[in-house]
């Protein structure tokens, strides 16, 4: 597990910084809730009545007057985008970063099979994502307690679970793509994450584009649906993970056979 350990050691500062920023922003959202709560009377109706804009962000289905409704929307903006970008960054650099940084020659001239490189790097990516989400979950829960609100545990955990799965899917997609790339492809990873986010907005706005819900992982992180159904859509989740696994397998097969120049 030397590659895994080294990957974790090399990336821990970035994980802490990213986790810190997301946690801080989530905590700020939660901490200002008591002040917002007083002004929320009537606001939920207004938020729900902004047509396509409300639909795009799920504000037509969530009650801003409740903490979990408010948290669901804010979490979607902060943890959804922030987490997706983090996962994309980790995934897209995992394999291609060695070639882009010209360290592949060092790593692959040791007696290590490329399949081992793939397995250990993928494990490191998923471990970092799990650590980030655990860190954020704990700090978010702490911020709930700080404002003296009880945590609606099931909804709270399901929302975080959905975002964790989303990050895993995006990381798998990017990890697979990384196996095909020679440059670090950060723009591709970031573009993919943001593209999937906007596909979800489009899917929410118009029924004609509803099929996009089967494409973008943001569809199963819809907090309104999670809170109302008390579950994360299993069909979309499994489909999304299958996309990720398929791309990862494709990228891995290519990586095992590819010529490495640097």
């Amino acid at each position: 597990m030397s590659i895994f350990q080294t990957e974790l050691k090399r990336g821990w500062i970035g994980t802490v910084i990213f986790g810190g920023i997301i946690s801080f922003m989530l905590a700020v959202c939660v901490l200002i809730y008591p002040e917002m709560k007083g002004q929320m009377d009537g606001m939920s109706e207004m938020f729900a009545d902004m047509g396509a804009f409300s639909e795009a962000f799920g504000m037509d289905q969530l009650d801003f007057g409740t903490l979990i409704g408010y948290y669901g929307v804010e979490c979607g903006n902060v943890l959804g985008i922030g987490g997706a970008l983090f996962a994309a960054f980790l995934g897209i650099r995992a394999l291609s970063g060695e070639e882009a940084g010209r360290t592949a020659e060092f790593l692959l001239t040791h007696p290590v099979r490329r399949s081992r490189v793939i397995l250990e790097k993928l494990t490191a990516v998923l471990t970092k994502i799990a650590a980030l989400n655990l860190f954020i979950l704990l700090l978010a829960a702490l911020s709930f307690l700080l404002i003296g609100e009880s945590i609606p545990l099931r909804e709270f955990l399901l929302i975080h679970l959905a975002y964790f799965i989303l990050q895993v899917e995006i990381a798998l997609l990017c990890f697979g793509l990384s196996g095909f790339l020679r440059s670090n492809g950060i723009a591709i990873g970031m573009g993919l994450a943001m593209g999937l986010y906007f596909l979800n907005l489009i899917a929410n706005i118009t029924e004609a584009a509803e099929f996009l819900r089967y494409v973008t992982p943001f569809a199963y992180t819809d907090a309104a649906k999670i809170v109302n159904d008390l579950s994360v859509n299993p069909g979309l989740t499994v489909l999304g993970l299958l996309y990720g696994i398929a791309v990862t397998i494709g990228g891995s097969i290519h990586y095992v056979k590819k010529d490495v120049y640097a």
Partner: protein, 291 residues
């Protein structure tokens, strides 16, 4: 026993040539030089031997195993890359320890000895090191596990003369312990002074292979004429240079043909000497035909 053996090894990058029909062998215990300028195919050959590239055609074996099983034979190979690039955020000692861990070997005692010999500060960050110091780190990575085969790509670039001597002494130690050394270089004196055999690669193909002394003293001769400023039309010579009162050139052919060709010239004096390896090298690169 051949430690490296290639037969018609060929690599094309789509349509562009890497190496073509390369056949040579390196025997156990020898120091083998691999000479050629940039773009000749030296790095392609090394990357094929290390399993970084897949051959387009042909075969190769390292330590008795086919190139497709590189992950197995690399346990007994120490590789020193030309550019010595590591993870900038790591310290020199961490890179060396990581290299040993990837080999699943405890090399700490040998690593310590090598770091002392090469005056490496293990606490220095890689990003702060000069090329020479990074090269020293890569020497430790290549030698700390006492490999059966050392593959060294332009090893002395960036090393000061003192460290070059330490480095070649370490290689000598490795050879005395039964190790084989394969050095790719364009510094001919380095090959001439340290290698027993050498191959010259030209435009992806093997131009010559043999003992270093044989290569230097092959049928290529340095001929110097006094009293003559031009050579007969169509005379096959390379590395032609004018001297104070004559001309000097490399000649590849029989003595009889040389004498016949020059017999009509007003030669005052003629000297035929064994060329330096560097001259042989130039001969193969300035239109000289491969043997």
């Amino acid at each position: 026993m051949a430690v490296i053996q290639t037969k018609n090894l060929t690599k094309f990058y789509k349509k562009s040539r890497g190496i073509e029909d390369l056949s040579f062998s390196v025997e156990a215990g020898e120091c083998f030089g691999f000479i050629g300028p940039n773009g000749a195919g030296k790095s392609t050959t090394i990357r094929l031997l290390l399993g970084l590239l897949t051959p387009t055609s042909g075969k190769g074996e390292v330590l008795g195993l086919p190139l497709s099983r590189s992950a197995e034979y690399l346990a007994e190979v120490g590789y020193m890359p030309g550019e010595a690039i590591f993870y900038n955020s790591m310290r020199a000692g961490e890179v060396i320890a990581y290299s040993a861990k990837l080999r699943r070997k405890d090399c700490s005692a040998e690593a310590k000895r090598l770091m002392e010999a090469l005056e490496i500060d293990p606490r220095k960050k890689i990003g702060e090191l000069s090329l020479g110091n990074r090269k020293k780190v890569s020497i430790v990575c290549a030698l700390q596990h006492s490999p059966a085969l050392c593959i060294l790509d332009e090893p002395t670039g960036g090393l000061d003369p003192l460290m070059q001597k330490v480095f070649f002494d370490l290689l000598q130690e490795r050879r005395k312990a039964g190790g084989t050394v394969f050095i790719s270089s364009h510094i001919l004196s380095e090959v001439e002074h340290n290698c027993t055999r050498a191959a010259i690669i030209r435009e992806g193909r093997l131009a010559a292979v043999g003992n270093v002394s044989e290569l230097a003293g092959s049928s290529v001769k340095r001929v110097t004429l006094r009293g003559v400023s031009t050579l007969p039309h169509g005379f096959a010579a390379s590395s032609v240079k004018a001297t104070d009162n004559g001309i000097t050139f490399l000649y590849h052919g029989s003595a009889r043909e040389l004498i016949t060709a020059l017999s009509s010239l007003p030669i005052e004096d003629l000297t035929v000497t064994e060329p330096e390896l560097s001259e042989v090298f130039l001969h193969y690169y300035e239109g000289g035909k491969a043997e």
